[in-house]
Every structure is written in C-alpha cells, then in structure tokens.
Amino acid sequence: MIDFALKTLPFLWEGLTVTLYVSAMVVALSLVAGVLMGIGFTYGPRWLRFLLRVYSDILRGTPLLVLIFSVYYLMPFAGVNLNPLPAAVIALSAFKTAHVGEIVRGALQSIAAGQTDAAKAIGLTFAQRLAYVILPQGLRRFLPPWVNSVTEAVKGSSLVSLVGIVDLMLASQQVIGRTYEPMPVYVLAAFMYFLINYSLSVASRRLEARYAYIRE
C-alpha cells in the first residue's frame, strides 16, 4: 500500500500544484472583482445595482460545469480565442465573483445604517467613511463566509479536469488509467482536498468565533 502510494505520489503532487494554482488565481480575481461588485451593490446607482443583480442571478443560477463549457465554446465565437486553462479560470472567476459579491454586499448591509449617519455627521467623505468606519467593520463580517467560499473555489477547480487540464482530479484519473486501482488513488486525492479545505474551514470557524463579539 505504502509502496503504491509512494509511486503515485509524484504524479498526484503535480496535479495538486495545478489545482492550487488555478484555485489561487480564481480566488484572487474573484476577490478583487467581488469586492468591487459588493460595493457597487450597496452604494451604486439604480442602473448599476440592476445590472449587478442580473449578473449575479445568471451566474449563480448556472451550474458551474455548464458555465465552463459555455465560456469555452462561446468565447471563440465572440472573437476571443482561448486555451482551455484561461477559459476555465475566467469561467470559475466569473462564477466566484458573483458569490463573493453577495458576501461583500451582505457584510456591508449588515452594518447598521446608523454607522453611516454617524460618520457623515462628523464630516467624513465617502472614501473616508469607507476606509475608517465601514470597511473595518465589514471586514469582520466578511472574512468567515469568504474563507468558506475559498473552499468552494478549491472544490470547483476540480471541474477543470473535464476540459483537459491536468489538476489533481485528472492526474488521479491518469494514474488509475495505468494502475487499474481506483480506490486507493481516489482516497489519496480525497485526503489532499480534505486537508486543504478542512484547514480552511477550521480557520473560518476560528475567525467567526473571534469576531463573534461584533455581532449585535
């Protein structure tokens, strides 16, 4: 068993690095876009909020796999020729942006309206209010669910295996193709995903506990 594991480990390890790379890209892109989206949702003009709502509803109502395929096959038609990897990352990032946007919106809106009033009353500008009053409080409400969405991104990255990208999932399939022993390989891969995500969810729970005093 151990001998077997040692032989397959290097291949799985390579797949794991691809998984981590894709996840990191998606998380980074969706974080930036999602924060902007969340701010737009909360403070933007009516037309912007409407557009963002449409975007959010469409993205969140689409199965991720359908989105990846659609992006991959529709993009050339729209004039952009892409390799599978960028296409998948774009699809995943667009998907996660909608989720992160919701988290940010929720965090900002849960801050009592009175805070904005108080900040206005002492003469802070919009940018100052955002930086010194809203975002610090929003951050504490944002972090725990966001860390949770990071685990979702890692799980979602497994779908890139279906467009030919050799992540941990596809690496596992390839190893099984050679060794014909599905169970040990899948269990090993599961353990790796579990390790990453479980650590993240433990961290998220610790964050939630630490910032629990913030909740009214």
């Binding site: 991720l64 359908v66 050339p76 799980k155």
Partner: protein
C-alpha cells in the same frame, strides 16, 4: 469569425434535451428525498447519541463537505465497486452520491431547525402531558419542517444544478444531451445558447414554485 448560427441541428435533437432536463429534475428530487432521510436520521443521532456517534456523524459531514462532488462521484461509481465486487449503473450510483452529498448539508439544516423550535412551545407540549415521542411527532417535527423549508428549497435548487455533473459518468441528463449534440453535430456554439438558458429558466421556475410552498406553510404570515 466565419461562423453562421444554425439552430436546426439543435432542434433536430431537441428531445435529448427535454428528456435530459426531465431526468435532471427527477434526479434532484429523488436525491433530496433520500438526503432528507439521511440528514434527519443523523441529526437525531447526533443530538441523542454519545461521543462515538457524534464523532462519526461529524466525520461524515466534514469529509463530504470538504471534498469535490466530482471526486465523490468517481469514488462511488468507480472506486466502491472495485473493492465491493459489485456494479451498479450510472444513474443509481449518481443518485446515491447526490443523496450522500446532500445528506451531509442537510444534517446541519435539521440540527439548526430542531434547535430553533421555541423552548416555550416544547414546555407547553410537556405541560399537556404528551409523551416524548408524541411531542416529537406532533409538535417538534412539524414546527421544525416549517422552519427549515427555505433551506430545503435552496438545497433542492443546488442539487438541480449539481445534476449537471452526472454527465461525466454518462447519465443522460441535460448536460450530457448538450455534449452529445455538440459532439455529433459538430456545432460547438448553438447548443450552449439553448442549454444555458434552459438551466436558468428551470432553476427560476423551481424557485418560484418552492416560494409558493413556503408561503403556504409559513409560520409567520397568514395562510
């Protein structure tokens, strides 16, 4: 780009899509039913059981929630038969997987739901002399179900979207139909312009229908 949209190829095989959609909806419903049984049983086991039982339930929940659904599908379809010595068809395997998957999320939903039954109402049910079993069946369970209805709706809609993954083990649901059309007609583009909205609209319709059910059973508003 020198490509002309031609949807005829899609319409020709449209029944693959309609039957696929029907199967997707079926799969979601059956899976959540089984998932509810699993989730409720484990939620009760967790609150009533000793340390060993609680750890087992937690281990199950944590494992399923931290591993990609795709991996679970492969594990159950390819992995389990190889050590169990039996085989099952793709649809059975997928339903089992989705049930196990949703069960893990539903354990939390039901636990929170049982906790949310107001303690005063439970006191009242004790005060009129109901036995523990009667209290559970006539008071705690009905109230809990009404409380968790919104969460159940969300899970069902999620499961509907997750049925798209069944295509990887050749279950003939909607996405599999879409891929079939794409491959066999060499039209890479049109089918997505049809199937993507199909998922969106169906998801929306299920949501609307479920909102109606919620309103009927809500504890907060008038019937």
């Amino acid at each position: 780009m020198d490509y002309h949209l031609n949807f005829n190829f899609v319409w020709k095989y449209a029944d693959k899509l309609w039957w696929g959609l029907a199967l997707s909806i079926e799969l979601a419903f059956i899976s959540i039913l089984i998932g509810c049984v699993i989730g409720l049983a484990l939620a009760l086991a967790h609150s009533g059981g000793g340390r060993v039982v609680r750890s087992c339930v937690t281990a199950y929940v944590e494992f399923v929630r931290n591993v990609p659904l795709l991996l679970l599908i492969y594990l159950i379809f390819y992995g389990v038969p190889s050590i169990g010595g039996f085989a099952y068809d793709a649809t059975e395997s997928f339903v089992a997987t989705l049930a196990v998957y949703s069960g893990a999320y539903l354990v939390e939903v039901f636990r929170a739901g049982l906790d949310a039954v107001p303690k005063g109402v439970i006191d009242a049910s004790k005060a009129i002399g109901l036995t523990p079993w009667q209290r559970f069946v006539s008071v705690r369970l009905p109230i809990m179900l009404r409380i968790v209805l919104p969460s159940l709706s969300n899970v069902l809609i999620s499961l509907f979207k997750d049925t798209s993954l069944a295509s990887v083990i050749a279950v003939p649901e909607l996405l599999y139909g879409a891929n079939w059309i794409k491959t066999n007609t060499f039209r890479q583009v049109e089918v997505w312009l049809v199937v993507w909205p199909m998922y969106l609209v169906t998801g929306y319709l299920i949501l609307v229908a479920l909102r109606q059910v919620e309103r009927r059973f809500s504890l907060n508003r008038q019937r």
